[in-house]
């Protein structure tokens, strides 16, 4: 048997499954995005029309699409750096020589990642409840009046960001921890002999050597955070004043609330193009700085 044939035979089953359940639907959705598939078409195929780029052009003139894009960028621009900073902080703490019961803390901080969003969201809704939530109760001790976390358009997105960061930072923390552990200790020893402070050690040893890992974590987090959906869906349903409608949420509404599957598919591919562009930029930035 030829070597290449054996390779195909082993990869074949996986490729078929991927092709059938991923490739074909993506291709179908791409075709749908150039049609006006909707409820009428669902009732009768003769009501389906090919509309070319109309869905895409129409979306660019839809205010709610831009609003959802703005909300998503807000979430990404604030959420990603915050998430990476907290992950890095937690990883540094776990990696420090002074840390005790590391296993326990590592598990505790990873726990939110493996719990289900819906269950955790219910708890957060209680914590952030306007009148009997723990957060407002604690703030009241500092003389801060009750904040309507999920009802006020200015506070809803920050609360969602906080929730998402808390939920996900453990994942990046584990990757960064592995990165930290692979930095040779003798570098720190040499720096200490030269009299470098902890901060300088962090700045000139830890950060540069962690660069490639940070890059990977950054790309994964950015592409993940652009796909914000579950958090607003379970916590705010896009309210108040559509301040927590993300692009994916908008797509979900178009697709499954109004059943405009053509338009919804177009949203999906626009989002895909945006994520591709942003991660390509990140990678280019990384290459320029020799992080990859």
């Amino acid at each position: 048997m030829k070597k290449s044939l054996a390779g195909w035979a082993f990869a074949g089953p996986a490729l078929i499954v991927l092709g059938l359940f991923f490739g074909v639907p993506v291709l179908e959705a791409f075709c749908l995005s150039f049609s006006d598939f909707d409820l009428y078409a669902l009732a009768d195929w003769r009501n389906l029309r090919f509309t070319g780029l109309h869905n895409y052009l129409d979306l660019l003139q839809t205010p709610l699409f831009w609003k959802s894009l703005g909300n998503t960028f807000y979430f990404v621009v604030v959420g990603v750096p915050l998430s990476i900073a907290i992950s890095l902080g937690a990883a540094l703490l776990l990696n420090s020589a002074a840390a005790r019961v590391k296993g326990f803390f590592r598990t505790a901080m990873f726990a939110p990642v493996v719990t289900t969003v819906v269950a955790v969201a219910v708890i957060w809704k209680y914590l952030f409840h306007t009148s009997y939530g723990l957060v407002n109760w604690a703030l009241a001790h500092f003389g801060i009046g009750a904040v309507d976390w999920f009802g006020n358009p200015h506070w809803a997105m920050p609360t969602i960001i906080l929730f998402a960061v808390w939920k996900n930072f453990g994942y990046n923390m584990v990757i960064l921890l592995a990165g930290l552990q692979s930095i040779p200790q003798d570098l720190y020893e040499a720096a200490r002999i030269d009299g470098a402070s902890r901060w300088r050690q962090f700045l000139h040893i830890t950060l540069p050597l962690l660069g490639p890992v940070l890059m990977v974590v950054g790309v994964i987090t950015v592409s993940g955070y652009f796909q914000l959906f579950a958090e607003p869906y379970v916590m705010t349903q896009g309210e108040p004043l559509q301040s927590t409608v993300s692009v994916l949420y908008f797509m979900f509404d178009e697709g499954f609330k109004w059943w405009n599957l053509g338009r919804a598919s177009a949203v999906a591919f626009l989002l895909f193009a945006i994520i591709l562009a942003v991660t390509a930029l990140l990678l280019r930035f990384g290459r320029k700085r020799d992080l990859l």
Partner: protein, 422 residues
């Protein structure tokens, strides 16, 4: 492994072929599904050969859930459907036409139902649903504060209402208002628009008719209440507690729905229990129309047990059962004979609803309606809060609605073309 599957299939088959007891699936929403348990038990007692499997779905997910069920061919036998969704499910050919069932029925009499409510279930002359409970908007008002302004009765028409609002504003001063119509709700303007003789859509529901004199008049009246300072340009979220504010006297009139009877009763502070009342909506000349909202019971065409399911529809439509359902949940019943039963006839607050229900009107029966009405609300918000000129606003609204209805227009032209060609 294969044996296990075969055995499992065998047991499944034996369950399905057991015909002594039929199980029908009933999808009910929100609180309705919770309070219906006792009634269902009674139905099962009356019909030992039928078992009812009530599936509760939350209102916010109901629409998606039903459409997904349709696409997956997994619709239940019976469902309560918001009556603005009936055109949509009728367009999908998923609803069973019910006229033959009604003709043969001794319990359900179309003439006993409020005509506007019944009409929401009729699409292109075909009946697709039986009204279960209704919903409309009318006036809640403070009798004592209205008397303070010099009036001993609620307004009968717009002109009188405007006089009363102006008088209230004079007496109560700058920090108080005459009427509360939250700008994030479309129901108030929609009620005024339904009071006009012109329809809201034209050309067989393929174009907006918001530039008509009727809608302009409704919008002008609505906008004037804000421009004069009679109504505060606030949304529901800006008023932390609308019931408290009502009893504090922030406003005298409140345009709202039947669920608030219970709330106001419960929340009226001591000494103010008798201070409030309900009244039908005033119209341009006399008492006017209102929204014919509510939900209907529908049978899905895909159901295998239509006869048994219809029995449940008839059971739930009996006046005595409707009265008990009303007592449990507070939604007004759709039949006049239910209203004549003592439980409702003696309720002083419900009376205005009965009066209003005689004059409710359906909204246009197109499946795009929910989107259209959202556009209408956004337009009214731009006029009230953004100061947009009403002329330009209705023109823009018509253009947007025409855009939404483009597909309908295309389908209609195509069908006419096919009909014309030999």
């Amino acid at each position: 492994m294969r044996m296990v599957i075969a055995a499992a299939l065998l047991t499944l088959c034996s369950c399905a072929s057991d015909s002594s007891v039929t199980t029908i699936r009933f999808m009910a929403m929100g609180r309705e599904a919770e309070v219906i348990g006792d009634l269902i038990a009674e139905f099962e007692h009356e019909n030992p050969d039928v078992r009812v499997d009530v599936q509760q779905i939350p209102w916010i997910a109901a629409h998606e859930k039903l459409l997904t069920a349709f696409a997956a061919d997994a619709l239940p036998d019976l469902c309560q459907l918001g009556n603005t969704w009936i055109p949509e499910f009728a367009a999908l050919h998923s609803l069973e036409p019910l006229q033959p069932y009604v003709d043969a029925s001794s319990t359900i009499d179309a003439n006993d139902y409020f005509p506007g409510i019944w009409a929401t279930n009729v699409i292109d002359d075909k009946l697709y649903g039986i009204p279960w409970y209704v919903d409309t908007r009318l006036l809640f008002y403070r009798r004592d504060l209205l008397a303070q302004a010099g009036y001993d009765h609620p307004p009968q028409n717009w002109a009188e209402w405007e006089q009363q609002m102006a008088a209230i504003k004079r007496v109560r001063g700058d920090r108080h208002y005459a009427v509360m119509m939250p700008v994030n709700e479309f129901e108030q303007l929609l009620s005024f628009a339904l009071q006009q003789s012109e329809p809201l859509l034209r050309d067989g529901g393929t174009r907006g008719n918001f530039e008509s004199t009727g809608f302009r008049r409704a919008l002008a009246f609505y906008a004037r209440t804000f421009a004069e300072g009679w109504a505060p340009p606030m949304s529901q979220t800006q008023i932390s507690n609308v019931w408290d504010e009502f009893f504090n006297g922030l406003f005298v009139f409140y345009v709202s729905g039947p669920w608030n009877i219970r709330e106001f009763r419960k929340r009226a502070p001591q000494g103010l229990e008798a201070s409030w009342a309900t009244a039908p909506l005033p119209g341009p000349e006399a008492l006017g129309a209102g929204i014919a909202g509510g939900t209907s019971l529908v049978l899905f065409r895909s159901s295998q047990h239509k006869a048994q399911t219809w029995k449940l529809v008839e059971f739930l439509s009996r006046p005595q059962i409707q009265e008990r359902f009303h007592a449990a949940i507070g939604d007004p019943p759709p039949r006049r004979s239910t209203w004549n039963l003592p439980g409702l006839a003696q309720d002083p607050y419900a009376g205005a609803f009965r009066d209003q229900l005689e004059r409710v009107k359906p909204t246009p029966k197109v499946l795009e309606w929910e989107r259209i009405v959202q556009e209408m609300r956004l337009t009214s918000e731009r006029v009230v809060r953004g100061g947009e000129a009403q002329d330009a606003a209705v023109r823009e609204l018509d253009a947007r609605v025409d855009g939404i209805l483009e597909k309908r227009r295309w389908m209609r032209e195509r069908d006419e073309h096919i009909a014309r060609s030999p």
